[in-house]
Every structure is written in structure tokens, then in C-alpha cells.
């Protein structure tokens, strides 16, 4: 069971993500965005950062990176694919998740701990969590305001006190099948009580376990 942690030029949470996945017992490797063969992997994480400088629109250029064909294939095959923060934006631009992320309601970068509530455990990211469970996870984003005009997203995690104006308080959403998830806060940053919270572990563990299920 091996996770591909995709690195676009400008991604910056890749090393943190690999560190946490490995600490939880998963195999994880960095994969450069020009890679065209991910057949050795059983799941993928698109980590946070500023892929291609976030120029034009966040995620707009990244969706054309060669590696994205493989991410689309993995998603279609039912393997777990999770986009964190900037990775969430890329998944939206690539059409793997509905909607888009726009500038925060207050037009400022937000870097702080937020509380989210588990509202749907049917996704690969929330599979190990309890419905109604509250998690403290850091949020670090400028374009973190989720919108889905004329639709209602499948929210799997909801902000307890919406910090950025997201529709339906969405902190994380999933596709219908539940194997593709975008999450705006950073679960990998909530993996060590010394740094303030280890509540993200249950999410990362759910993701790792789902990889085994989807493979079986």
C-alpha cells in the first residue's frame, strides 16, 4: 500500500504530508508533477502549497500537469484521492470535485486552529471518525471559501464557526462515491499534541485504511 504525494512546482506541504503518512505506518513517496505513471501507487494526496504560484487562479495551471491524467484514472478506479488546501483547489479545477474555492470572506489569509464537525463518515477521509465528532485542525489559506453555485455539496466536515464564508460551512467535501475528498484545513498539521492538536490523525488513518479497502 503506497501513497503518491504529488509535488507541483510551488507545492510546499509535501514533506510534512509524507512525514505524517510514514509516521502512521503508510508507505509514501513524493511524485513530481511530470510523472506519467502512478501504477505503483494505491492512493494519492495532493498536498497544500501554491502550485504554479497560484497564478491565474489557484489550481488552474496545475490541472494540466502531466500527472493529473493518472490522478483522474485513480479516482475513476475508486482509489482514495485526497486534496488538502491547495490540493483541494486543484481537484476542483480538474473537475474531480464540484465547485470552486474563492477568496476568504474577509479577504485575508487565515492561519489558525479551527473546529470542524464530522457530518458524513462515508468518505475515505472520514471513514475512521465518529459522526458528530469535533476535531481541532489548523486552517491556512487565502482562497478557502468553498462555493458551489446552484448546487449543494456533499459536506463531510463542517466548520463549527465558519471562518471564511464557505457554502454550507464546508470544510471538506467528497464526490458521490466518497473516494475523492477535498479538505481545506490541514489534517497533517494536527498530528502531534506538542504542536497543539493530534485530531487530524483519525482522518489520515481513515485515508490509509481506505487504501487497503479499495485495493481489496
Amino acid at each position: 500500500m503506497k501513497v503518491a504525494v504529488v509535488v507541483f512546482p510551488g507545492t510546499n506541504c509535501e514533506r510534512d504530508t509524507v512525514h505524517v503518512l510514514r509516521a502512521l505506518g503508510a508507505e509514501a513517496d513524493l511524485v513530481w508533477h511530470r510523472e506519467t505513471d502512478l501504477s505503483a501507487f494505491d492512493g494519492a494526496v495532493l498536498p497544500g502549497g501554491f502550485a504554479h504560484g497560484d497564478y491565474l487562479r489557484t489550481g488552474a495551471i496545475a490541472r494540466f500537469s502531466p500527472v493529473m491524467d493518472e490522478i483522474v484514472r485513480m479516482a475513476a478506479a475508486g482509489m482514495p484521492v485526497v486534496g488538502i488546501c491547495n490540493g483541494f483547489q486543484v481537484l476542483c479545477e480538474a473537475g474531480l470535485l464540484p465547485g470552486a474555492l474563492i477568496a476568504n470572506r474577509d479577504l485575508a489569509f487565515i492561519c489558525k486552529m479551527v473546529d470542524v464537525e464530522v457530518v458524513d463518515t462515508g468518505s475515505v477521509l472520514t471513514a475512521a471518525a465518529m459522526p458528530g465528532q469535533r476535531l481541532r485542525i489548523p486552517l491556512n489559506s487565502y482562497e478557502g471559501n468553498y462555493v458551489l453555485p446552484d448546487g449543494s455539496p456533499r459536506v463531510v466536515l463542517r466548520y463549527v464557526d465558519d471562518p471564511n464564508g464557505s457554502q454550507d460551512g464546508a470544510a471538506a467535501i467528497a464526490n458521490d462515491r466518497g473516494n475523492v475528498v477535498g479538505i481545506m484545513p490541514h489534517p497533517e498539521r494536527a498530528s502531534d499534541a506538542l504542536l497543539g492538536s493530534s485530531d487530524g490523525v483519525v482522518l489520515m488513518e481513515g485515508f490509509i485504511a481506505s487504501m487497503e479497502v479499495s485495493h481489496a
Binding site: H52, G53, Y55, L56, I61, F64
Partner: protein, 80 residues
């Protein structure tokens, strides 16, 4: 009166966004693209009848707020 303001980065000032978008376009096979510069357009509706006065007013707005004179030039177009 309807007014369009085009805010452009001064030619000698670097535009990292344009450079990156050009790279991406070339990557997608559009290798004829020599340069990309990304600017802003602002549309206003301003009360008034004399286009010269409106032009002066909007130019003042550009100097004060709409443009950053250190980095940008602006052009005001008043549509009759």
C-alpha cells in the same frame, strides 16, 4: 456615463504571473506565445454629462486608489 479603466503594469516592472502563464501555455503546445502580461480592467458608471470632467475625475480616482502609481499605468476611456 460608462467609464472603463485599464490598469497595466508598467513595462519595465516584472510580471511573474504573466511569465508563469506563458510557460504553461508553451507547455500546452502554444509555443508561438512570446509574452503574457496580465492586467486589470475596471468598469465604472459615473454621474455627469461632460466627458472631459468625468475623465479628469476618474483619472484622479486612479491616482488615489485604483492604480498603484509605483507599479502601474492607467488608461481612462469614457464611453459617451
Amino acid at each position: 456615463m460608462k467609464v472603463t479603466v485599464n490598469i497595466t503594469r508598467r513595462p519595465e516592472i516584472a510580471d511573474p504571473q504573466g511569465t508563469t502563464v506563458r510557460r504553461a501555455l508553451v507547455d500546452l503546445g502554444h509555443d508561438a506565445v512570446r509574452e503574457v502580461r496580465i492586467d486589470r480592467t475596471i468598469h465604472l458608471e459615473v454621474e455627469g454629462h461632460d466627458s472631459d470632467t468625468v475623465h479628469t475625475q476618474v483619472s484622479r480616482m486612479c491616482e488615489q486608489l485604483l492604480s498603484n502609481p509605483v507599479l502601474e499605468d492607467f488608461e481612462v476611456v469614457v464611453h459617451g
